[in-house]
Structure formats: structure tokens, C-alpha cells
Symmetry: C2
Subunit: 225 residues, 2 copies
């Protein structure tokens, strides 16, 4: 099993603030897991007993709304520490995490994290900073949900995925979402998402091949009104 103190992933998250000794201790009690595309990592209401350090793959965080739709709140990627909010709140998870492709994660027991938060101020300050950043991101999402049209929000998420996760060898977005997922990110009906993607295709902003989407006119999408 790989060792935390040698793992490069930690540079992407708050674990980088831990000392070598602390990392060795965590290395000793962590467990590696492989998660298959489509698998649910944890569900709304689950008690989470640790955090998942994501080494590879992407998952969605979603929440069931009163009308039965599964709103996607966030895409979580390599380097993120999944589940830390529930751990810190000492409550069950308010979100469901589902793998969007095959993932490789390390599970670190809750007590280890809490222990380090109490003992290592560099670590807790870094977590604090990360959460403050997440809150700012949430503010922006709220404003966009409230003020932008579905078309703009859909253009936004395409640009976001393009810029954050890149494209494969053929130029297609490397994160593949179903049309329903796109609808659940922007908060609209699946048919509306499909319709608008078709429109984008007609306007030569994107091209598609099955579920795969290629962005043709990035600036056009950015300037969507």
C-alpha cells in the first residue's frame, strides 16, 4: 500500500500542512479503496466515519429536493478531501456522493483527522482557508442560480468542465455527464437541458457524439446571454 508521506496528491489539499510524523501515522491507519463508475460512496443521512482523499477520478455531490430531483451541488476531483464537512459538523452527511468514473480513494478515519485538527494549527488553518474558499464558491453559485438563465448556466458548466478537467485525445470533454446530470447541475428539466444542448449544436458552439461533448466555440459559450 502506498505511503501518505510519499503521496503527491496531498499537495492538492490540506494534508500538505501535516508533518512527516503525522503523515506516517495516517498512512498506518488509512485504507485504499477502488470505486466503480456509478457507485454511491455515501448517501444523504449516512454517518461518515472518515474523509476520502481522492487520488483518481471524479464524483458528484448531490442532494434530493422535495420535487424528487437530485440537484448536483458540486463536482469533486482529484485532491479533494471528501466528507470533511460532515466530520467537522459531527452530523450525518447532507449530500450523496456518486462516482462519475472509476475512482481511487484513500479513506482516513475520522479520529485521525480530528486529532490533527486539534494538534496542528497549520493544518486546521489550511482547512479553514479551504472552507472559506468553498463558501465563496457557493456564494457565486447562488447568484448564478438566482440571476442567470438556464442557457447561461448550461454554457457555464460546459466551460467549467472544459477548463477544470480538460479534454481527451479527440477533443471531447473528459468528464462525461448524462443529459440528466447536466439538467441536475443547472437545475432544470432534462428535456430543457437536451433542447438547449441541441441548440448549442445548431449554433456550432459544441458538437456531440453520443454522450461525448466537444466544445467548438469556447468564447461563444462564455459570452452566452
Amino acid at each position: 500500500m502506498s505511503k501518505c508521506e510519499q503521496c503527491i496528491i496531498r499537495e492538492f489539499n490540506s494534508l500538505k500542512a501535516l508533518t512527516k510524523d503525522e503523515l506516517i501515522r495516517i498512512s498506518g491507519c488509512k485504507t485504499s479503496k477502488e470505486i466503480k463508475k456509478g457507485d454511491v460512496i455515501f448517501e444523504e443521512g449516512d454517518t461518515i466515519n472518515g474523509v476520502y482523499c481522492i487520488k483518481e477520478g471524479i464524483c458528484k455531490l448531490s442532494k434530493l429536493s422535495a420535487n424528487g430531483k437530485d440537484q448536483i451541488i458540486k463536482l469533486v476531483v482529484k485532491g479533494d478531501l471528501l466528507g470533511k464537512n460532515s466530520i467537522i459538523r459531527e452530523e450525518t452527511s447532507n449530500l450523496t456522493a456518486t462516482a462519475l468514473n472509476d475512482m481511487e480513494v484513500c479513506f482516513i478515519p475520522k479520529n485521525e483527522i480530528i486529532n490533527d485538527l486539534k494538534k496542528n494549527t497549520d493544518f486546521s488553518l489550511d482547512v479553514l482557508k479551504q472552507m472559506a474558499k468553498d463558501l465563496k464558491d457557493s456564494d457565486n453559485i447562488i447568484v448564478n442560480m438566482a440571476q442567470k438563465s438556464v442557457k447561461q448556466r448550461l454554457a457555464d458548466i460546459l466551460v467549467y468542465i472544459h477548463e477544470s478537467f480538460g479534454v481527451d485525445d479527440d477533443g471531447y470533454l473528459s468528464v462525461i455527464l448524462s443529459r440528466e446530470d447536466y439538467a441536475n447541475v443547472v437545475g432544470t428539466a432534462t428535456e430543457s437541458a437536451i433542447r438547449i444542448l441541441s441548440q448549442f449544436k445548431k449554433e456550432d458552439l459544441i458538437s456531440t457524439h453520443g454522450k461525448q461533448i466537444k466544445i467548438i466555440d469556447l468564447n461563444g459559450l462564455k459570452q452566452m446571454e
Copy 2:
């Protein structure tokens, strides 16, 4: 000037985790401020040099959107520590804070807070917990913005204000927002907010007297569809 170590407000926020000595130190460098209704405490883009501990009054946190509307993200009340996110992020504020009624606040310089975050783990853990809770709240707001109708969101905010801030002697909501503010909370056009409030009035869910709103049928508002 009042002393932090004797101030009861700190029980409402993370400052309760500070030691007596730390509170005395903060007491020595804080400044009390009176803020008039309508005054802007800080604006989007401002550098904030400390946090505001709110002793009395309510303010709104808003963010200007691309279409020129001022989306209200949150109402901030007695006990809240305003500005801590910007301080922690070490960036300028992403939000504008505007007093909704006359306020009394204590301004605590940034360095004092940062110092305590580094030295006192009880304090930093409590701040962490508060921010994790804020993030959960944001998740809920995002889901509601995405999935609920304007009518439902407007009913929600009325219920929220009723339950969080209570009513005056005549039964009117003690927080008074303009119709435009209501529109900017739920993310709709001012006319739409006015129209829906009129409709609520016709359906005997609320009654109004100028800007004042009285909730008549709380359950009716809660069950809005």
C-alpha cells in the same frame, strides 16, 4: 466602552471559545461602532481589516450579478461574526454588507483574530464548525434556488424571517424588507415579488401594512407548492 469578557453576545459565536485573557486583550483593541439603517458596512472588493461582532441589528450580505441585480445571499444577525471569511481567505470581500436597521457592532482587528486562530485550537475548531454549518446552509439554498418556484422561495423566506427573527407587538415581522429586497433574496423581478405577495394577501396567508408584513397562515406558507 463595554468589555468583551463581560459581553454576553460572544456566547452566540466562536468568541465563546476564547480564554479570559484573550478576551481582555481583544477588548483592549476593539472599537465599538454604531451603524445607521441603510449604511454600507463594506462593499464587494473592499479590503477588510477585521471582523465585526454584531451586538444589535441585522444586515444583508449581497453580491452584484452580471445583469445588474444585487442578489442577497444571507441575512446576518446579532451574534454573527461578519467578515471572517474574507479575513481567512486573505482576500478582499466578495460581498457587500448593508445595514437593514440601526446596528451596534464591535470591530476587532484582523491580526487579533488570526493570532487567536493560530494559538487557540478550541477557537479555530469552533470557527471551523461554524463554517461547515454555513456550507451546509449554502447547499440547501442552492437546491432551493434550483428546484423551487419563486412562489415557494418567497413563502420560505417569510417563514424563515418569522421563525428566526420573530414579530413585533402587533404581530408584524420584526425584520422589514422592501419588496425589492424580497425580490433580491429569492432571485426574481421586483414586480414578480410584489405580485406574489399580493396573491398571498388575497389568499389570506399574510396581511400587510405598508412595508410591514404579518403572517396569518404559517402552515399555509410552509406547504406552498
